[in-house]
């Protein structure tokens, strides 16, 4: 079905159902100039926004609309998770090219509602408009947290351990499979990591409420670049151990099968949406146990040091300087999240 058959308001009516997860705090949603909601008075408000542009962040033919819908919201939820906050209310803007069917949009919104349900996020409204050619999705997400618990990029201190809350590199390998047009059947785990990242909200909450961590970020640009942000904002350096970088068996198999660069795929591509942070050394065991109890991972991969720059200690024991420049949207072109 073509969008011109149902029109803008027909489309809004169609996507309206299933948008509110927590109705109690919603005063006004979809169908007015703004949405209005109550926040908890002793918490601070967190706001994030991310735009996904066709042919820049995704290829319409490569990702199923349901997965694209999930991912659009997931990358925003992950930003809230990276501060240790709780995601709450979202508004979606979408610019729709003329050739897009209503069924595609239904699936896209089904994906958003699916992940919104999983993370108790209300979809409260947004803006629907036409686009000349490329599909554009923008999500703005409001979250909340206790001011004294939230973690930023700027809090790392020399002596901190560096941790990850999940495996890295799988999304990069998934992207590699797509770009190299390899057989997809054997590598569904890697493709799923690329198309369907799961934000680590629970891990973020445990870490932030423990009071033991000093800084946190989510891995969107790659560990090298994102740890680079922490180091620059905190005025410190870091040493990573290559042997401790957590990757899945399938990732290892994929890298070996095609003779690929382990460091590049695991540390320099990103879109893993696991959390990367630093905590005081004495907290490692306690944090690890607290996360394990909730079914979350906690991998210690290195240490914050005085000075600047990031060194990677290879499996041969030799340290080498790591390039921390991540993807720059304006300096070069790449298919993937910036």
């Amino acid at each position: 079905m073509k969008l011109r058959e149902i029109g803008e308001f027909g489309f809004i009516d169609r996507i309206k159902g299933g948008c509110f997860i927590r109705e109690k705090n919603v005063i006004k949603a979809i169908g007015d100039d703004c949405c209005v909601f109550r926040t908890t008075s002793d918490l601070v408000t967190i706001l994030t926004t991310d735009m996904l542009v066709e042919d820049v962040h995704f290829l319409r033919g490569a990702i199923a609309p349901l997965k694209l819908g999930r991912k659009s919201l997931a990358v925003n939820i992950s930003d809230i998770a990276a501060m240790g906050g709780i995601p709450r209310e979202a508004v979606i803007s979408i610019a729709i090219p003329p050739d897009l069917d209503v069924e595609y949009l239904d699936a896209l919104y089904d994906g958003m509602k699916e992940i919104a349900g999983e993370f108790e996020v209300n979809l409260l409204g947004g803006d629907t408009t036409s686009a000349p050619k490329h599909l554009v999705i923008n999500v703005a997400l409001v979250g909340e947290g206790k001011e004294e618990e939230l973690l930023y990029r700027s809090g790392a201190r020399a002596g901190d351990i560096i941790f990850l809350t999940g495996y890295v590199g799988s999304s990069a390998a998934g992207l590699d499979i797509l770009l190299k047009k390899r057989e997809v059947d054997c590598w569904t785990e890697l493709l799923e990591a690329h198309f369907n990242p799961v934000p680590h909200v629970r891990a973020g909450r445990i870490i932030s409420s423990s009071g033991m961590a000093n800084s946190m970020i989510d891995v969107s640009d790659g560990v090298a670049s994102d740890l680079g942000h922490i180091c620059i904002e905190s005025g410190v350096g870091a040493v990573l151990e290559e042997s401790k970088i957590p990757v899945t068996k399938t990732f290892e198999k994929y890298v070996a099968r095609f003779g690929l660069d382990f460091e590049y795929l695991s540390l320099h591509v990103g879109e893993d949406y696991v959390l990367l942070g630093t905590a005081r050394e004495s907290a490692a065991d306690t944090l690890g146990r607290a996360l394990a109890k909730e079914g979350c991972h906690f991998f210690v991969i290195g240490r914050i040091v005085e000075g600047q720059g990031i060194k990677l200690v290879g499996r041969d024991g030799k340290a080498r300087a790591m390039d921390t420049r991540g993807f720059d949207h304006f300096r070069k072109e790449r298919d993937g999240e910036g």
Copy 2:
């Protein structure tokens, strides 16, 4: 200067200055995963978002980047004004095509900062990305207000007067000048209304805090369509008087000069960003005086009635039914705000 010369982070550094108007409530802004801020605990939070797409909402060659920056934020501020709220914190997403110069972007952000300063809005962060072809700007704006004061589309009652807080049609006339490629020199007032709408936040606050109004919306799609939203959401009808529709002398001159349709331009095009609302009849004088004292207009243009649909009483005293369908982004194409 080309964006590739300074890169994504160079660009962010460049636009960073002058973004915070009220630093006191800002905990974390630009340069982290999210922004974090305090809201006033006894108020409810208002959230709105609007996306402006090149060749759908604006033609890059027709509007100066400073004005485009102002308008991107203005349309969002106007949505908050339409509820009687106070605009507070904004995040900006921008997808930038490769041919856009840094100087263009500087002017665009100067425009946003200019109007942000005028309305005490903090620009707290956002997302910068590349675009294949068309410039896309998305603003998400958080505001606040007292729950018991906010005005919605759904509160109009039979017997209410219908009011406008400013002149309508000038923006439509400005767009007409552009589309018909007329000489612009004589009609700068109309072009300015189109390119540089000023949101009516102060009028909205006076009206909402008076407790005398029952519904409100901002005129983005045109009085006919926007009053249509109020009527549908409130389950009422309306009668407008053509002779009371407030237009400027220049608008009258323009319509007469080119023999144009007064009703179409003043009521069916929109982008005026004045407030349209309803209030109990006894409040008209009090509200009018309160607004006049603050230099704001208050024009009574008709009355809410039982039933449905909107009638327009012409200068000949004859009533005719009005088409309340506004612009639909998917049913037809037009250059202008949806």
